[in-house]
Symmetry: C2
Amino acid sequence: MTSWESLYARRATRMRASEIRELLKLLDRPDVISFAGGIPDSALFPARAFKEAYSEILSGPEADRALQYGVSEGSPRLRRWIAEHMKSLGVDCGPENILVTSGSQQGLDYIGKLFLSEGDTALVQWPTYLGALQAFNAYEPAYDRLDPGTNLSADDIRAKAAASDGKVKFAYLSPDFANPTGRTLDLAERRRTLALAEELDCALIEDAPYECLRYDGAPVPALLALDCEAAGGIEATRTLYCGSFSKSLSPGLRLGWICAAMPVISRLVLIKQASDLNSPVLNQEAMARVAERVFEDHTAGMRATYKARRDAMLAALEAHMPRGTSWTRPEGGMFIWLELPAGIDAADLLTASVEKAKVAFVPGRAFHPDGTGGNTLRLSFSCADAEKIEAGIARLGSLIAETVTATL
Amino acid sequence: MTSWESLYARRATRMRASEIRELLKLLDRPDVISFAGGIPDSALFPARAFKEAYSEILSGPEADRALQYGVSEGSPRLRRWIAEHMKSLGVDCGPENILVTSGSQQGLDYIGKLFLSEGDTALVQWPTYLGALQAFNAYEPAYDRLDPGTNLSADDIRAKAAASDGKVKFAYLSPDFANPTGRTLDLAERRRTLALAEELDCALIEDAPYECLRYDGAPVPALLALDCEAAGGIEATRTLYCGSFSKSLSPGLRLGWICAAMPVISRLVLIKQASDLNSPVLNQEAMARVAERVFEDHTAGMRATYKARRDAMLAALEAHMPRGTSWTRPEGGMFIWLELPAGIDAADLLTASVEKAKVAFVPGRAFHPDGTGGNTLRLSFSCADAEKIEAGIARLGSLIAETVTATL
């Protein structure tokens, strides 16, 4: 028998299954109303537009090229569309500032690979997107807390990073309707975060997969747009913007992008080349067509649907949650973050919730790199209709009320 | 201006552009006959079968699922086909032994990530597939030479690895019609390599993208098949088999696989989850259909075409190469490896060849981790017809003859 464990790299000790993904496998029960999965509603995908695009490409003279290897940077037509999209967000850039990735998840993996040596520090929010921690963990960083709401001392952060035998390489955050909290950074918080990155002379990673899902309130400029404005152009910026088609058109094609200054993009292209050569040309060509044709109308329709679901969930929470619980009121995205009274553990609650209330959610501890957050949970409103949301939140509210009473 | 260089991880110093990819960009000139690109002929892709498969999936009730996130392991239908295919190669396994990857290149990246800490040793052949070195380099290994043709001393290898501050984690090789040499390991060499891996108690990485492209000679069992036989089943083996659809059906969908014992597969699934969540479900579903329907007939047709091209190139080399040159006679794949008289540098020759002879190839030094091999070059016969092969090799032969004379 091969002694596999003794052959693995040190980093393997930090690789663990996503609790959420494991959870989702268990929760695929028809009698349970699930607010657990953080995925788009597949009934909303523009399947007809994709069908036409694939048919066009595979019927025409382009078929051979679409089925061949491609360039690591990404297909020119798709990079052009993405660059125009970034311009609409206030980022003056060209296709040369875009690397196409296999979802923004791959962008996070590449960013970890490019910046992190063992012991280097990554600043992340508490709680934060679990998949980012999983991607970065492979490169064995230390984590320190990024809290854009408070005054942060660059000196303290630097001293702590030096104690872990590395330096601060980047600050990572999701400024719009973050997974898992649904929170959006205001302009002052964004400026403060940029100033901190400048003081630390580190990179800033802006993870923006939900950008197109704003339901109300005024858009706040992207960190990269603010950085461009202050620095006098994208080539002088320190922000890497990770975008995604997963929440706007389809996650199934696994397409996202990184937008940044050219020296960084050219390094990331080398990483792409060594890791999977290129993302499928066929998918990139199909996505370019679908984006050109339906992006605006399609995302407008999705926003209307998701807005109604968010409103239904906020109304149901207001109606059914007992005193002592609180929750966020997101302006977009897919998530509401709920805080239980201290002392109630959301992981314990989940067991009772699935068995008795027939409602599923994600306990919040996994989103905290320091293992705190036991009394928090994430609710996703993206995949349930208003009726199910009302019924599910009512049942969950009763269960929490009972649990609070029993704990008193 | 951000001081990017000071922010990069140590590993970034080992990331370099593929000389070959850079070369290919320059060589895309209509007046040049190119034997440089190691890619399949795109005129041979089963485009109609792919068109039908995509149309079917996107027209039916499966569309929503195909456009959604999927499981990291890969789509069940595709894993089943791959497991059956592995059985046909003498490997008794099930879908649980298969991880679907984005091309076998991604498999190599994941294998580096799983096994290599900085300073660990990877045994590789000299010359070897350049993309493997690029994938492994990100994990900062030391390389030592694997030479299945000679008697290898495990003690010497171990001592050298300890001197580089690590241990031998795996031996990597491509046993059938290797890129770049076209060479195939015979049964004795395979058994010797397996015995060495056993003695070193390390993993064995079998890179087999050309497996389906044998034109003559009897197939030699896969290393994984020999390992299964000796160990008494796949769960007791130490071999990770990397397969690919890129040379059989299409590289454009970016689909390959790793076949190995379950404990390794489950670790690799965690890596996949953290690095890009999953390969596109739509592509996996399309590939499963196309493989089920046309794999046997399609690869038979491709073999006939490539065999004729190989024969044309061998005949042309026989007719036109001056004394002092020698070359391999591959039983399959896409490559012939040519050795020039010592003292003639293939990189210098390439400049003259493109300018005067209008013929392109890949100089061999890049395939050698130790920078030797200056008098070698790789010729690919996959993308040129017999007429072009005869004309191109004739021109190259004359140039080499002139160069040899001038050097005397």
